[in-house]
């Protein structure tokens, strides 16, 4: 298990109702996908979401960013 602060970060997205956009609602740190699901469900349960997803932050491909190095790394 990685030390606190070193665990992978997962971005959390959720949809409130059919036809509404998927919204970014926050993030969780977890050692693996399975626990990321549990944590997202526990923490972001303030609304009755009809869908919720976790996405590893490292899987998100930057398109534009003020941090040029983040984009360059995926160029």
């Amino acid at each position: 298990m990685k030390a606190i602060g070193e665990e992978p970060v997962y971005e959390v997205f959720a949809r409130r109702a059919e036809g509404e956009p998927l919204r970014h609602v926050g993030c969780v740190a977890a050692p693996a996908d399975a626990l990321a699901r549990v944590y997202a469900r526990s923490i972001y349960d303030e609304e009755s979401w009809i869908e919720m997803y976790v996405v590893p932050r490292r899987a998100i491909i930057p398109v534009e960013s003020v941090r040029a190095e983040a984009v360059d790394a995926h160029a």
Partner: protein, 256 residues
């Protein structure tokens, strides 16, 4: 001939009521105690996320206990229970819940073994002919899915820390093992057999225990946590005899 649906306590076969009361009391008392034990880690989990997850599981377990205690109010001869007080003096809980969990691995072993054993017993009521139990079991099982993911995920993470942690987990599993494995009842279910005959539970005893071992056996094998469970062909089975001579069927607990 199919068994008729039983929609209220008065429709239950009289000879089944004591066994049903004993089972529901033990399920609810263990869930109540488990919820309180989880709750003690609300603000002291290894990470903020794990503390919040422990809080959510505590709320779930206390909620499950509350709906099961509500069921007791309708059953003749059932003891009175309240979710507002700490476990009653005659609470029917397993020894692993007698004291607070001193470490996070204690919580995870309880999560993997006891929480999932109770869920598996409730799963045998998903098609119950006794409607008040079937309706409650459905809601509880939905929430238990996430408890299983949590326990298994954390067991894998802890075991990956190295041999000293795996040895610690092995010791804790040994502590909880007799109570949890006996909880399903002896071979044919023991006192629960009449509930199976009446269609109140789908199965009990060895059949449920085998399903439980089929889930945790591969988990322990994969994580290197040593438990007295062995695979024979495709079937996982307990590697040591269970202490039935010390088993108290009403308290659903091994006498020590």
């Amino acid at each position: 001939m199919s068994t008729p649906l039983l929609d209220r306590p008065s429709a239950l076969p009289r000879e089944c009521v004591p066994a049903l009361v004993d089972l529901v009391v033990a399920l609810a008392d263990n869930k109540h105690a488990l919820g309180l034990r989880y709750g003690e880690w609300c603000s002291s989990g290894p990470t903020i996320e794990s503390g919040v997850a422990a809080t959510a599981m505590a709320q779930d377990e206390l909620g499950h206990a509350r709906v099961l205690y509500g069921m007791l109010e309708e059953l003749p001869g059932a003891p009175r229970r309240s979710e507002h007080e700490w476990a009653a003096a005659d609470a029917r809980i397993v020894a692993f819940l007698d004291a607070s969990f001193p470490t996070w691995p204690h919580l995870i072993v309880a999560n993997v073994l006891l929480d999932q054993a109770l869920a598996l017993v409730l799963r045998t009521a998903l098609e119950s002919h006794y409607l008040p139990l079937r309706q409650r079991a459905r809601k509880i099982i939905e929430e238990e899915e996430y408890h299983a993911i949590h326990g298994q995920g954390w067991l894998r993470a802890l075991a990956a820390e190295g041999e000293p942690v795996r040895a610690r987990l092995t010791g804790l599993v040994r502590d909880a093992w007799p109570d949890v494995l006996c909880w399903f009842g002896p071979d044919g279910g023991g006192a629960l057999a009449c509930l199976v005959d009446a269609g109140i539970l789908q199965e009990a005893g060895d059949r449920v225990r085998d399903r439980f071992l089929g889930v945790i056996g591969p988990l322990f094998r994969d994580t290197g946590v040593e438990a007295p469970v062995r695979v024979r062909g495709t079937r996982w089975a307990a590697a040591e005899p269970l202490p039935w001579a010390s088993w108290d069927a009403q308290a659903r607990r091994v006498r020590r």
